[in-house]
Symmetry: D2
Subunit: 154 residues, 4 copies
């Protein structure tokens, strides 16, 4: 049976200012978005990160394969196309719950913004026909993060 | 950060016939129910077990604090009071999804029955006023299981 | 805020013998595998199904993006390549927990088999380079199931 | 089967400054803690809230029955007794993952603090023997929140 039967994973914490911002991978965003990976929880398939999004930046089209929750600490963000398209437009401080299968065709930042988000399950970045361009799981983000750290040290 | 960042927990499996049945704790059931603990997943707060329930046996009142799914492999089970009380009555083979906060005031077995169930979150066994008698988490079931194994070996 | 704040989703149940077997989509399996969809839980991104797998059948390569649990009710199944490849080989009745990111390069049935499984998160069917061929979510399985029902009725 | 099979719950958002702070229930905290409930997700058994914690305030002893993640936006917080007791002491901005069954015997605020937290599963407030004083689920927090809103309007 389970060899770790009495050992849930350990808690952990991050002093956010001690971690440097890293450029977010190009094809999945535009306009200079940077991020810090705060945690991955492989046991759940979840992760947590914080994003720095300059005015005019945006994320490419993606589907939230599991539910996600954001906390907008600064700025102004349009999700799911904004209010004109049936989505929402929120100003900091704001909270949001994005359900399973929420399609984020356009996520735009109308002012310099920052948000913290927890993701339970992957993001599926898709092209115009809905085909997968990149399936972003906890493992993908950890690998991207570690590659960026090595590049910085190298 | 997370020391196990690339290590989800390991998979595991159980050959069910190699595990002996154990009496289910008395106050929480009546009529001779036995069980086998198959897995705990502390990382999720979930667990899986199989129950052998003689005709006429029943579980005490409890609330499913998280969702649970059963697979009735043998017999006839009434949940949430059965059909007369707004619940359901199912005959093997049957599947059921019990939602968060489902109150199981009466779970009765009308024939010799057996079911496998996965629990995402604890069971809250309550008295008639809804006060907690026993909060049964993955840890509680693991401790109960290990105590039963030690008693058998002792 | 949440309009359904006091309404968890409803419980539901299925009398399994009242549902007909359906052919499992070809490219994702070989050898005549059939299935019954028992439930989708869009709120969690999870689903439950039962599979009928003739001797010699197999599933194509896939990654479990979230954890999954199986209950083998009949037969003999090799997962993750079987014991020779670091995986396991189980005979009914057997239970297994497959962790997040478990890669199932080969799932083979050595005898006529049947298993029930719950999936928390999608399956990512991949080619030899690890590229996504099909991302199978709760929504994908529901659509595939409904299409099969319509074809039968048509 | 599931009547809402194609309907995950809807997304939702909250403009946090439009919601008033409410006193956190007395017996479970000391020193004037206030809170805003941001969301409950009954389908998952999860919820999200933000807490305003004056210098010297604290939460009573509790166990995290499921994993939780906090984002400390202001101040200085000691969890699990602080560093002297094997816990941690974090200063804003900070992130933390608290695992299943994490016991928070003492959560102290050393400066005026504010934190946002998501909870997957209930909190079990306990006495010195570990007996349940209050099992706080998504439903409990929703009921407490609505009662506070009604008291304010009344």
């Amino acid at each position: 049976m389970n060899p770790n039967k009495y050992d849930p994973v350990e808690g952990r914490s991050v002093q956010i200012d001690e971690v440097d911002w890293v450029e977010f991978p190009g094809p999945l965003s535009q306009g200079g978005i940077r991020w810090k990976l705060l945690n991955v929880a492989p046991e759940l398939g979840s992760w947590a990160a914080i994003y720095d999004c300059p005015k005019g930046s945006s994320f490419a089209s993606h589907v939230h394969v599991g539910p996600g929750e954001y906390f907008l600490t600064k700025g102004h963000m349009e999700v799911r196309g904004g209010e004109g398209e049936g989505g929402v437009s929120v100003k900091a401080p704001a909270y949001g719950y994005e359900a399973c299968e929420a399609f984020h065709g356009m996520t735009n930042f109308l002012e310099d913004s920052e948000f913290y988000m927890t993701f339970l399950g992957p993001l599926n970045f898709v092209d115009e026909e809905g085909n997968t361009i990149a399936l972003v799981t906890w493992k993908t983000v950890q690998e991207a993060w570690d590659a960026a750290q090595q590049a910085k040290e190298g």
